[in-house]
C-alpha cells in the first residue's frame, strides 16, 4: 500500500512539473496525451512495484506470429 502511494505521489510530482507549462502555452492536445500517458505509466509502475504477475502485452505478438512460425516450420521442416 505504501509503495502505491509513493508511486502516485511521484506521478503527481512529474505532472506538477510539466503540466503548467503546457497550460500556459494553450497546448490542450498535448495535455490530453500527457495525462493519458502518465495514467498508464502510473498504473504499470504500481503493478511493477508490487511485482504482481500480469499478462504481458507480448501475448499479442504470440497470437499473431505463432501461426506464421508453424507455417514456416512446416514448409522448411525445421
Amino acid at each position: 500500500m505504501l509503495i502505491t502511494i509513493v508511486i502516485i505521489c511521484i506521478g503527481l510530482a512529474i505532472a506538477a512539473k510539466d503540466l503548467p507549462g503546457l497550460y500556459r502555452k494553450h497546448r490542450f492536445k498535448d495535455m490530453f496525451v500527457y495525462i493519458i500517458m502518465l495514467g498508464l505509466g502510473t498504473w504499470l509502475s504500481v503493478l511493477a512495484a508490487k511485482s504482481e504477475v500480469t499478462p504481458s502485452p507480448l501475448v499479442l505478438i504470440e497470437t499473431i506470429y505463432n501461426p506464421v512460425n508453424a507455417f514456416v516450420s512446416n514448409i522448411f521442416g525445421f
Binding site: 502518465l38 504499470l44 503493478l47 500480469t54 507480448l58 504470440e62 506464421v68 522448411f76
Partner: protein, 369 residues
C-alpha cells in the same frame, strides 16, 4: 519538436556496431546453439550476408527522402491513416524492445552479481542513467558511445584472445549432424536477433550530418560486429562445447570465468559484464530515443522533453510487466519474436519501397522531399 543535434559518420558507425553486439553478446550463443547444436557457427556465418542485405535495404529506404524519419516516410508514402497504423505498430516494437533489453540487463545483474537486490531497484538505476542521457539529446549519446567503444572492443578481443589456448576443434564434430533445415533455422535466428532489431536506424539516419560515406561505414560496422559475434560463438562452442553453451543462459559470462592464464590472470568476468552492459545500454537508449521522437512526430506534439517523465514511468512498469520470468523471453516468445523483428526491419521497409515505386510511376506522384 525538432532534434538540433547532428551526428557524424564515425559516430553512426560506432552506434551501428554497438547496437549489433549489444544484448546479443550475452544471449546469442546459447540461443543459436539451442537450435543448431554444434553447427551453430555455420548458421552464424551464413547469416552475415543476409544481415548486410537488411542493412542495405534500410539504407535504400533512407535514400528515398534523406531528411525524413520512418514515421514521416509512412505519412508521406502510405497516406495519413495507413501510415498512422503502421507507425503505431513500429512504436510498439521500439517500446517493447527497450523494455526487454533493460529486463535482460536487470535479470543478468540480479542473477549473477546483485543477488539480494530486488529487480525493480536495479531497473530504477538503469532508468536513471537512461533519463540523464535522454535529457541530453542525441549528440551527447553518440559521443558517449564513441568514447566507450574502444573499451567494449578491447574487452571482446581480450576475451577471444585469452581463450584461444583452450580451444578444441574436437568439440565441433560431427559437422552437419543436425541436417540442413536445423542450420537454416539457426541462421534465421542469427539473422533476426542482431540485424532484425536495427529497424530503429531509420529514425536515426536523418540526423547524420555528412551523407557521403554513410553506406560504406554502416556496412563495414555491420560486417565487423557480426564477424565478432560469430567468432565469439565459435570460441564458446570450442571452449565449452555445445551442451554447456546451450544450457548456460549467459554464455559469454561463463566463458569469461574460464579465463585463466598461469593462475595469475583470472576473475575478469566483472570487467566483461561492464562492457556488455555498456553495449546494451547504447542499444536501449537508441531504441527509446527513437520511440519518443517517433511519438512526438506521430502525434505532432510540441516538445519531446516534456513527455520524457511519463515515458519513463511507462518504461519502468513495462520492464516488469512485459515478461513474467526469464524463461518467457528467452524461450517461449523467441519463435514469435524473430518474425516480429523481421516484419519491422524487412517487410515494412520493403512495403514502403514498393509503394513508393508504384506511386512514383502512377499519376498520384509524390513531391520532392
Amino acid at each position: 519538436m525538432e532534434e538540433k543535434g547532428r551526428i557524424s559518420i564515425p559516430n553512426i558507425a560506432v552506434l551501428v556496431f554497438l547496437s549489433i553486439i549489444g544484448d546479443c553478446v550475452l544471449v546469442y550463443p546459447s540461443l543459436i546453439t539451442a537450435i543448431s547444436k554444434q553447427d551453430a557457427w555455420i548458421s552464424s556465418f551464413l547469416s552475415i550476408p543476409a544481415g548486410l542485405a537488411v542493412l542495405l535495404l534500410l539504407l535504400r529506404v533512407h535514400q528515398l527522402y534523406p531528411e525524413l524519419t520512418f514515421i514521416q516516410l509512412c505519412q508521406r508514402i502510405l497516406g495519413p491513416w495507413l501510415g498512422a497504423l503502421i507507425s503505431i505498430w513500429y512504436l510498439f516494437h521500439l517500446m517493447m524492445n527497450s523494455a526487454i533489453y533493460l529486463r535482460e540487463v536487470g535479470d543478468f545483474m540480479n542473477s549473477q552479481t546483485y543477488v539480494m537486490t530486488p529487480l525493480p531497484v536495479i531497473n530504477l538505476l538503469l532508468i536513471l542513467v537512461l533519463m540523464w542521457g535522454m535529457y541530453m539529446g542525441l549528440e551527447p549519446i553518440a559521443r558517449t558511445a564513441q568514447i566507450l567503444f574502444p573499451l567494449c572492443l578491447a574487452f571482446a578481443l581480450f576475451l577471444i584472445l585469452c581463450l584461444l589456448p583452450q580451444c578444441e576443434s574436437q568439440q565441433l564434430k560431427p559437422i552437419m549432424e543436425q541436417g540442413i533445415p536445423k542450420i537454416m533455422e539457426g541462421s534465421l535466428f542469427a539473422l533476426s536477433y542482431p540485424f532484425g532489431e536495427l529497424a530503429f536506424l531509420l529514425m536515426i539516419f536523418p540526423y547524420v550530418s555528412k551523407k557521403p560515406g554513410l553506406k560504406k561505414s554502416v556496412l563495414l560496422a555491420g560486417l565487423t560486429a557480426s564477424v565478432l559475434l560469430s567468432v565469439l560463438l565459435l570460441v564458446s562452442l570450442m571452449v565449452l562445447g555445445p551442451f554447456v553453451t546451450e544450457h548456460s543462459v549467459y554464455t559469454s559470462y561463463t566463458l569469461s570465468k574460464k579465463i585463466n592464464i598461469g593462475n595469475f590472470l583470472q576473475r575478469v568476468e566483472s570487467l566483461m559484464s561492464t562492457a556488455w552492459i555498456i553495449t546494451t545500454f547504447v542499444k536501449t537508449i537508441l531504441h527509446f530515443y527513437a520511440f519518443t521522437l517517433g511519438m512526438t512526430q506521430l502525434l505532432r506534439l510540441d516538445n519531446v522533453r516534456t513527455f520524457l517523465g511519463p515515458s519513463f514511468m511507462i518504461l519502468f512498469g513495462l520492464i516488469i510487466v512485459s515478461a513474467p520470468n526469464i524463461t518467457y523471453y528467452l524461450d517461449t516468445i523467441v519463435h514469435a519474436w524473430i518474425y516480429w523483428d523481421l516484419t519491422d526491419s524487412v517487410v515494412l521497409p520493403l512495403l514502403l519501397l514498393v509503394v513508393y515505386k508504384f506511386r512514383s510511376k502512377g499519376r498520384h506522384s509524390l513531391g520532392p522531399g
